[in-house]
């Protein structure tokens, strides 16, 4: 029980981060209870807020919900709590009473509170400019175009790290991946080993090329190697096709289907 409560409090704290929004919610509730408690809207809004918070924090309901959706995503139950509508509603009720000239000034004060209490989406580093319409990292678009040009209609496998991998099939679904984000979809020992090698904190190009060749991986996307590392890749038959930004594309053999992966060519 104690563990469950601690977990829920951790979820609650993570949900609000270091913002003041949870305190704004509390302040909004108190203000509504003090000054708008007789209003029908306030009554059902606060009642719903109480019921939804009860569902989230009650160990009994939490146990049932977690049994259905899993423990790791239990924080999503907090989406039921209408925090923004309650805060905005209370602030608007407060602003409604202000006289003509004071209203925009009070609104500006509320806006400043929100700006200081939260954190800007852009400021949090969520957005950047890219040139492709698919909105994937430029390096992914560059690598995909290189592969498409080099491989033509051949069937092949490609492996890339956790930065490039997740967006390759978003950009071009004709590319077969050995594994994807966090190794997902990679079955067997070989692909798992290749995933670990290609995402290692310090890359060992000899190991990457060796495992890549052993698993019949036709293309490898690796961080730009130096001269020695290039030779290590070439020792196992990987040839550089080109590069995009910080990444280089390597092909096993002279063409995309020089080495035929038994998964893609089962009859051979």
């Amino acid at each position: 029980m104690k563990e469950l409560m601690e977990q829920m409090i951790a979820f609650w704290n993570n949900y609000w981060g270091e913002s003041l929004i949870a305190w704004f919610l509390l302040a909004a509730v108190i203000w509504l209870l003090l000054f708008r408690r007789k209003k029908e809207t306030t009554k059902y809004m606060l009642l719903y807020l109480a019921v939804s918070l009860f569902i989230f924090f009650c160990p009994f309901t939490a146990k049932i919900i977690q049994a259905c959706i899993g423990t790791t995503v239990y924080w999503r139950v907090l989406w039921l709590v209408p925090s923004s509508p309650v805060i905005a509603y209370a602030m608007t009720e407060f602003l409604r009473e202000r006289k003509k000239l004071w209203k925009p000034l009070a609104l500006a004060a509320c806006a400043v509170l929100i700006v200081l209490g939260g954190k800007g989406i852009y400021q949090a580093g969520n957005y950047r400019m890219v040139r492709n319409y698919q909105k994937v990292p430029e390096e992914v678009a560059g690598i995909c175009e290189l592969v498409k040009k080099d491989a033509g209609d051949s069937l092949y496998f490609l492996a890339a790290d956790n930065y490039i991998g997740p967006y390759v099939r978003v950009y071009d679904p004709s590319i077969h991946m050995m594994f994807n984000r966090e190794g997902r979809g990679g079955y067997g020992v070989g692909p798992k080993r290749l995933y670990l090698e290609i995402n290692a904190p310090v890359l060992n190009y000899l190991n990457i090329a060796a495992v890549g060749k052993r698993t019949y991986c036709n293309y490898l996307v690796v961080k730009n190697p130096n001269m020695d590392q290039k030779k290590e890749m070439e020792r196992f038959g990987y040839q550089e096709v080109g590069s995009a930004g910080r990444y280089s594309l390597y092909r096993l053999g002279d063409s995309a289907d020089a080495v035929k992966n038994p998964v893609l060519y089962p009859e051979e």
């Binding site: 949900y15 929004i21 905005a88 806006a111 698919q134 990292p137 679904p173």
Partner: protein
């Protein structure tokens, strides 16, 4: 030029068709706004999508069959809506738009436009896209529904039971195909934010209208504050505002940003008001739509409806309405059992 046509078709299927498709469900209302038409249309289209996709996934039908079926159903509903509108308004144009221009209106609209431009023009990298958008690109490329693993491009070894009950990526694939084969990643990253972000604020506007009535200053102040709270929700990656602002093209984000607030609005309108503003089956459609968007919707939608049923019983004692609310959760309960058991 090709891109322009595809973009025009995307807007046609994401804005025009839903707006007209919503009319038949509102024809008994004395007045209806374009916003209501649009939201009711989405409830209907999402429900149709869920009801069509589940059996077709089971039957391993190709994607183009689903695309044609959904396209025909959506178009038929929209034509029926246009017919209802013409008949009801005696061939007058769309319902009148009453907008009270004032300082607060300009402030709210400017902030929302800024946010829409940011979400549409700039790019947010989200690794979850490798499944949610990847599933759509894969389905389009292979003309299948959930048969090929989007992570690798190989056939699934076991069906992804968590996702097949909430096939929002298939909706993305279908709409992309209806937009003359627009790349699903472009549809998701450019057109979905362009339509769904204002859609999320439309729901908030409706809430503001419910709470502040004819006080247009208060309505727009409310909308401005809600938009500001969403715009400054970068404090954690878990809150609904953050999901709304950075990845509204994913089903779970659309659930958190628009569908749960819409269900909130409908629960108030149907279960708590003296005279229900909408018929009870709007709750049913909203619950099915939540199921389409995310597996979380399968449990969160009945939870929210359940909360309001409790409030309805304690405050109004309206047993009949509570039973209707319970009935609207049946599809979610059915899918929830399927999710847990199979």
């Amino acid at each position: 030029m090709g891109m322009m046509i595809k973009g025009g078709l995307a807007i046609f299927w994401l804005v025009v068709i839903p707006a007209f498709a919503g009319v038949p469900f509102l024809k008994k209302k004395q007045t209806m706004s374009i916003g209501e038409m649009f939201l009711a249309g989405y409830l209907a289209l999402f429900s149709i999508m869920e009801l069509l996709t589940l059996p077709m996934t089971w039957l391993k039908a190709p994607l183009h069959v689903l695309t044609i079926s959904f396209g025909l159903a959506g178009a038929a509903l929209a034509v029926w809506g246009a017919f209802c509108l013409a008949k009801q308004k005696k061939l007058s144009p769309l319902p009148k738009i009453k907008i009270h221009f004032n300082f607060y209106f300009c402030l709210a609209i400017l902030l929302i436009i800024l946010q829409v431009v940011m979400c549409t023009v700039l790019a947010h990298m989200d690794a979850d896209d490798c499944f949610y958008v990847g599933a759509a690109t894969t389905d389009v490329y292979t003309d299948t529904i959930f048969e090929i693993n989007p992570y690798t491009g190989r056939e699934y070894i076991g069906l992804p039971r968590r996702y097949i009950l909430s096939p929002f990526p298939v909706f993305l694939a279908v709409v992309s195909q209806l937009a003359n084969g627009l790349h699903p990643a472009i549809m998701a990253h450019m057109f979905f934010p362009l339509v769904f972000l204002p859609g999320a604020y439309l729901v908030q506007y409706m809430l503001g209208r419910k709470w502040f009535g004819e006080d247009s200053h208060a309505r727009w102040i409310y909308l401005f504050l809600v938009a500001l709270l969403a715009g400054f929700s970068g404090y954690s990656v878990y809150n609904a505002g953050n999901f709304q602002m950075v990845r509204i093209w994913q089903g779970k984000a659309l659930l958190a940003a628009a569908m749960l607030p819409l269900l909130f609005y409908l629960c108030i309108s149907v279960l708590l008001e003296k005279k229900p503003e909408y018929p009870w089956y709007f709750l049913l459609l909203a619950n099915i739509s939540c199921c389409l968007l995310s597996s979380m919707g399968i449990i969160l939608a009945p939870l929210m409806t359940g909360c309001f049923m409790v409030i309805c019983l304690t405050r109004t004692g309206g047993w009949k309405r509570a039973v209707m609310g319970g009935a609207s959760c049946l599809p979610s309960v059915f899918l929830g059992i399927a999710y847990i058991c199979f």
